[in-house]
């Protein structure tokens, strides 16, 4: 078990820029917006950035939400601009969705749903990690 895990890890390509882990629900704090600002800046400087959604952070991807109903600027709308910033690697933790009884129905396309192990391995491919 240990050896196959190590083997798999070694086969992965080397360092791959910045990973941003989003772990907070979208409307109770500024963390999601602060993470988005970092992602867009890295994108505009043409630095590789991948987004990871885990724990309550998965709520940031769920479709049919309207922040304006709770008088919050809808920063989730900006997620649709990721392709213009070459942010293409967007990963969500399947177990976090299951735990919250959420369907895999997201407000942006190209979201990759990963098992906990795949999620960890994808994270491991990055040189730097920031968590919000």
């Amino acid at each position: 078990m240990t050896s196959s895990y190590t083997q798999e890890k070694n086969d992965l390509p080397p360092s791959n820029g910045l990973a941003i882990i989003n772990s907070k629900a979208p409307f109770s704090s500024n963390h999601g917006k602060d993470a988005l600002d970092v992602a867009l800046i890295f994108g505009s400087f043409e630095q590789k950035v991948s987004l990871f959604f885990q724990g309550d952070g998965v709520y940031q991807l769920i479709a049919d939400q309207d922040a304006r109903l709770v008088s919050i600027k809808d920063y989730l709308k900006t997620f649709s601009a990721f392709e213009f910033y070459d942010i293409e690697d967007i990963y969500v933790c399947q177990q976090s969705l299951v735990n919250r009884q959420l369907e895999e129905k997201f407000h942006i396309g190209d979201v990759q749903v990963l098992s906990s192990i795949e999620f960890g391995l994808a994270l491991n491919r990055h040189q730097h990690v920031l968590r919000f």
Partner: protein, 122 residues
């Protein structure tokens, strides 16, 4: 040479900031090249001159100033995070920014991340 960049997101009154300071100082003492500390989110509050923490409590801001002076450690604050927290960054007459800190933007975080072998967040 080993290069390290640090991101601080906790406020000056947070106990987690003590961990950040202890870590950064240990790295400097060990001869690691700490290329900069970037203060984001509540971390930006460190640059507020007007913050006063009871004298018998840990003086995080003083310790950052000391590291800046002793090791020429660059301390960057995110201007957006600072202004959102009431720290006037652009006014000459009413400058609330502690001299040890440099007012920067998120672009500086990109710079630090690109140059550093390791990035550690507190």
């Amino acid at each position: 040479m080993k290069t390290l960049a640090v991101v601080v997101t906790t406020p000056p009154y947070s106990h987690l900031t003590i961990s950040a300071l202890t870590y950064v100082e240990a790295a400097l003492v060990a001869g690691i090249n700490v290329i900069g500390v970037f203060f984001y989110q509540d971390g930006a509050m460190h640059a507020n001159k007007d913050i006063s923490i009871a004298s018998d409590e840990y003086q995080a801001i003083e310790h950052w100033q000391r590291l800046n002076k002793e090791y020429q450690l660059p301390l960057h604050i995110c201007i957006t995070a600072a202004e959102k927290r009431g720290i006037a960054c652009d006014s000459i007459d009413n400058d609330q920014v502690n001299e040890a800190f440099t007012v920067s933007g998120l672009g500086e975080l990109v710079e630090l991340t690109t140059k550093a072998a390791r990035l550690v967040q507190f």
